[in-house]
């Protein structure tokens, strides 16, 4: 009995201290009344969480075991997952324009996130400026299209090649660095690209952006309509999934994963680290360039505003939310993070707040992502 009351007292004390501390921190920003409300809400929430914890945990473990049994029922051959493309095929027949629009955006982000996944997920090189390649792709495409009048199908390969080359050239010096330093240098690269686009008025039209980009044509037919464009993006997204999947299972892909897991061991096995990292960064930039072209051709207008650091963070969040290194997880992450803001339009102000808190919670409680199975690589 005394042990029980001691537990209750320590629980009360703990909840009280944490709520009081949060309320005090909150005090200068919103005044006394809001701080008191926050204290009350937090205190109550923590008490009820603590109290319900005793009967919640068997419920949770029960649900987890049911989930495990369900997944065991699914066929071993994972190729059935390709059937998931079928619902994607019929989206334009069943939805309003608004939903198709969101779906097109989701497709573009899937390509981007899969590209970043090659660099961060497979090779383990954190890139905080991935948006730079996206921007270079979009701007090369837009400039080729509006200045030189080159159509979609010729401008896109050129723009993608330019992006890949820029990724390659930037990676040559940058890859001498590792870990955090590499991440910071990529962040710097992303910012330099954005600020340059913003200030180089004579070439990029500065903050006003580039407008009047023409829509792609295919076999004499304009892909101007939203549903036609949707299929175009879907086609490229499927190409991305298939190609990245093939490369991942090739010798190159296995070398990337080896480098991620233990670079020194990989070097000892005779894997030329720098060369394979260069492949990885260029390959990632390739897809970012492609996504940039698709974005520019969809929007018909681009400006540096679309290529901020927050955009890099958002793409990174897609990759880590779904699960680093897992293609299905990254696709799910991209779809979730494109759709979620649309659903949460009502509480838009709190969206980014929740994103920030979500990142921290994800890192603490599920660093391998929502759908990732394997734990991320060891400390290095």
């Amino acid at each position: 009995m005394t042990a029980g009351s001691g537990r209750i007292r320590s629980m009360l004390l703990r909840s009280g201290t944490i709520s009081l501390w949060s309320a005090l921190l909150f005090l200068p920003f919103r005044g006394v009344r809001a701080a008191v409300v926050l204290f009350g809400v937090l205190f109550f929430a923590m008490l009820s969480l603590n109290a319900s914890g005793s009967w919640m945990s068997p419920l949770m473990s029960g649900a987890a075991s049911v989930g495990r049994r369900m997944t065991a029922l699914l066929p071993k051959d994972r190729r059935y997952l390709y059937l998931l493309v079928l619902p994607a095929l019929i989206v334009p027949f069943s939805a309003q324009n608004y939903i198709i629009d969101v779906a097109v955006l989701a497709g573009i982000y899937i390509i981007l996130a899969l590209g970043l996944n090659v660099v961060v997920g497979y090779t383990g090189l954190l890139n905080l400026g991935f948006v730079a390649y996206y921007a270079i792709g979009a701007y090369s495409f837009a400039l080729l299209n509006t200045r030189l009048g080159i159509g979609f199908w010729s401008a896109m390969p050129i723009a993608v090649i330019i992006t890949t080359l820029s990724g390659f050239l930037f990676a040559i010096p940058a890859l001498r660095l590792k870990g955090d330093y590499l991440a910071l240098v990529t962040l710097g690269f992303g910012e330099i690209v954005r600020i340059t686009l913003n200030n180089w008025d004579s070439f990029t039209n500065g903050p006003n952006g580039i407008g009047g980009i023409t829509a792609p044509h295919l076999a004499g037919m304009s892909l101007e309509t939203l549903s036609a464009y949707y299929y175009l993006v879907l086609f490229f997204a499927i190409v991305t999934v298939v190609v990245i999947g093939r490369v991942q299972r090739s010798k190159i892909g296995r070398a990337w994963i080896a480098l991620r897991e233990d670079e020194i061991a990989a070097l000892a096995m005779g894997i030329p680290a720098i060369r394979y990292k260069l492949y990885s960064v260029s390959f990632g930039a390739f897809w970012a360039g492609m996504a940039g072209c698709l974005f520019a051709a969809k929007m018909r207008f681009i400006s540096p505003e679309s290529f901020t650091f927050m955009e890099s963070v958002l793409i990174l969040c897609m990759v880590i939310l779904g699960g680093l290194g897992s293609v299905g997880g990254v696709i799910a992450g991209a779809i979730i993070l494109v759709i979620l803001p649309e659903v949460l339009r009502e509480v838009q102000m709190y969206r980014m707040l929740a994103l920030g808190a979500g990142i921290v919670l994800l890192m603490i409680f599920r660093p391998q992502g929502l759908f990732g199975g394997r734990v991320a690589s060891s400390r290095r």
């Binding site: 200068p28 910071l184 240098v185 690269f189 600020i195 707040l353 920030g356 890192m363 290095r380």
Partner: protein
């Protein structure tokens, strides 16, 4: 003209140096780029305005301006340090033994959270610092230095000297250096590493808050996104001087401030924000250990 730019650069540089110290101390101990550090500086700027506004409302500023400013400084530092302490406890401590990228990503999350926290509670528009401090100054050789600029430089100098003495002379400072050298060894000789890490965050956040308060006085305007660019620049300063190296951070901050103000005067002010990034990239590529840092062998 040149002298004027040097003064402006020195003012800016001493602010960068104060923020850079927080980065460098945390990196020295945890090898973590505390991405949220810039936001603590932003919080400091906001807290300064809020607290001073409160003192004006209750009539303390009219009673005695130096007392009000002193109390504002004290409270700003206490609140910001509490934020820094809390951030470490919630977002970094559970990730001590996680893969190295996890704390960095978590820090980005904290940074996004704090930015939007301030935006929601204080509004997205610029906040104006009450014009309590006169813009008077002296003009020597056609170069104008305001009292505010002079006090920013002097206050930063005093704080940095105190910090240096603290790290060199006190028991806690010695423990901090020991933890920076080898965490497990330090805990074997009876140093509570968790406490030391908390103290590091508290000191770093306090310094950033002082910087934030002074900048909001200097520019008169504050916004919820000032933390990002100031954070990046201060980090650049820390890397420039050699990360983990405390005199290096002071030196790097002042050097960066000078480069930025001279660069925007003589090269192009549009690319003002690029200089820091270019320097960051160049220094990391050419001399990753920084100007004052020592080369460290990679441990296997």
């Amino acid at each position: 003209m040149l002298l004027q730019q040097l003064i402006n650069g020195l003012t800016l540089g001493s602010v960068y140096a104060l923020i850079a110290l927080g980065y460098t101390m945390v990196y020295g101990i945890l090898e973590l780029i505390n991405f949220a550090h810039g936001e603590i500086y932003m919080l400091g700027a906001y807290l300064g305005i809020i607290i001073l506004g409160f003192f004006t409302a209750v009539g303390l500023t009219a009673f005695s301006l130096p007392l009000a400013l002193g109390l504002t400084l004290l409270l700003t530092v206490i609140f910001s340090a509490s934020y820094g302490f809390t951030v470490e406890k919630i977002a970094y401590r559970p990730l001590r033994s996680a893969p190295k990228l996890s704390p960095l990503i978590s820090a980005i999350g904290v940074s996004i959270f704090l930015q939007n926290y301030v935006m929601i509670t204080q509004g997205a528009t610029d906040k104006v610092f009450p014009p309590l401090v006169s813009s008077a100054g002296v003009t020597v050789l056609s170069t104008r230095i305001t009292f505010l600029q002079a006090s920013i430089i002097v206050v930063s100098g005093i704080i940095m000297a105190l910090l240096h003495a603290f790290i060199r002379k006190t028991r806690t400072g010695k423990a901090m250096r020991a933890v920076a050298q080898d965490k497990s060894m330090a805990s074997l000789v009876g140093i509570n590493t968790d406490t030391i890490i908390s103290i590091t965050f508290i000191i770093g956040s306090g310094l950033a808050a002082v910087a934030g308060l002074m900048v909001s006085m200097y520019y008169g305007l504050v916004n919820y996104f000032i933390g990002y660019s100031a954070g990046i620049k201060a980090f650049t300063a820390a890397v420039l001087g050699g990360i983990g190296n405390i005199p290096g951070a002071m030196f790097g901050g002042i050097l960066l401030g000078l480069i930025e103000s001279l660069g925007s005067a003589y090269i192009s002010s549009e690319y003002k924000d690029v200089y820091a990034f270019v320097i960051l990239i160049l220094i990391l590529l050419i001399r990753p250990s920084g100007l004052l840092g020592r080369n460290t062998e990679e441990k296997i």
